[in-house]
């Protein structure tokens, strides 16, 4: 049976891991390679490294840390942020990343998803989606890495997810923006709505605070993976303990 994935997200800025609340007020959390190894030893199923400045800064930052991570990690990892061209993607995959994740560039030009999938295979292409509730619907936001540039896109969440899937994405990471960093639980309604339109793997992001939140999102929203950052970085939740708890609740979890 395929296990539910526990994914730790490391927000990277200038070669160190940082964390902010609702994309703001970043504080340094530690060294990339050290944190990656610690999570691997704790039993994390996958890691995402998200360069939080790259996409909105219109620049591709130095990615030499990718190969440093790839040298020590024996679990899969994904790199997100600032990947705007085929060359950007190729460089990161050649450095040893298993997947790349794109967000704003996909909104600028959806065809980019297809081009990446054709060259690198759908399994390597993740599309990140930032969405929040507005009126009675969920809408997609763009350039969320920089609040001064963040704008509402023209897409409704479910329409965009369907499009992204049909363009050739291999996985979706859906970040529920209102939940990000506030630890009140994943947005189950939003994630369930996303699940309903997707047949590719779906990873929940934003809102994890307690172990029950993970249980809820796996059982109620049927996501394949649950991503969290600050709760792991601060030590509020320990990945080993979380996985033991979820296994005891009857979920399929890698030991």
């Amino acid at each position: 049976m395929l296990t539910k994935r526990i994914i730790a997200c490391l927000d990277v800025k200038d070669d160190v891991v940082v964390k902010g609340v609702q994309f703001r007020n970043h504080v340094v959390m530690g060294d990339i390679v050290n944190l990656a190894q610690r999570y691997r030893d704790d039993g994390v199923d996958e890691l995402v490294f998200y360069d939080i400045t790259a996409s909105s800064d219109q620049r591709v930052v130095d990615k030499s840390w990718v190969s440093k991570v790839a040298r020590v990690l024996d679990v899969p990892f994904c790199v997100a942020g600032g990947i705007r061209t085929i060359e950007d993607a190729k460089r990161i995959l050649n450095e040893g990343a298993d997947k790349i994740s794109i967000n704003s560039p996909a909104l600028e030009r959806p065809q980019f998803i297809t081009e990446l999938a054709q060259i690198f295979g759908v399994q390597s292409i993740v599309v990140g989606v930032d969405s929040r509730e507005e009126g009675n619907e969920w809408v997609v936001y763009q350039y969320t890495g920089d609040e001064t540039r963040t704008i509402k896109s023209k897409h409704k969440m479910t329409d965009w997810l369907s499009m992204v899937q049909s363009m050739g994405a291999g996985e979706i990471v859906l970040n529920c923006m209102a939940q990000d960093g506030v630890r009140r639980g994943y947005n189950l309604a939003q994630l369930s709505a996303a699940r309903d339109v997707l047949t590719i793997p779906l990873v929940a992001s934003g809102g994890a605070g307690e172990m029950e939140h993970f249980y809820d999102v796996f059982t109620k929203s049927k996501v394949d993976g649950a991503l969290a950052a600050s709760v792991f970085h601060t030590g509020h939740l320990h990945i080993g303990g979380l996985k033991t708890y979820l296994a005891q609740q009857g979920l399929s979890i890698r030991k």
Partner: protein, 197 residues
Amino acid sequence: MITIVESGGANIASIRFALERLNVSAEWTSDVDKISKASRVMLPGVGAAGDAMQKLRAKELDECVKSLTCPVLGICLGMQMLFSTSAEGQTDMLDIIKAPVVRLTEEVGKTIPHMGWNDVMIEQKDHPLMQGLVEKEFFYFVHSYYAPLGSYTVGRCDYFFNSFSAIVIQDNFMGCQFHPERSGAAGSRVLENFIRM
């Protein structure tokens, strides 16, 4: 020394680093002569089946790999390449193992690609490639096509109603559908076993 068939795909660094962690020297080459004389050959595979086979044939590596008598390990698409055909782009593969690779069946609640950690039932624990593995191990998979079960299956994976080959062995040809280089301690064990065979 491991000889790795380099046919021009991207994303091969992870295998290189995994071998480095095991202190194994590896040579990446597309030279038919070198591969023919190798003592151990690894066949990684990334991307789409048709493209990968085309690259292999362009360098006349298909006949070369087929004629090998040393231990050969195909990884992911590299394992699938050992089979006769693939439904992915209706591709003719190396035809070493006489069975077709087919697409995962769509089912309610089942996501495709099959992506993540899945348990594998080890069915031939006494084989050198399986040394030190327990009956049920977790490995990291990413794929949309699979090799059916057969006499060559030594590790079985179940995903909804699809049961398929996670590890195959036929004579000196071996393969794993998962990524041993990204499968933690169990994956390292498989690579180590192959190196020591």
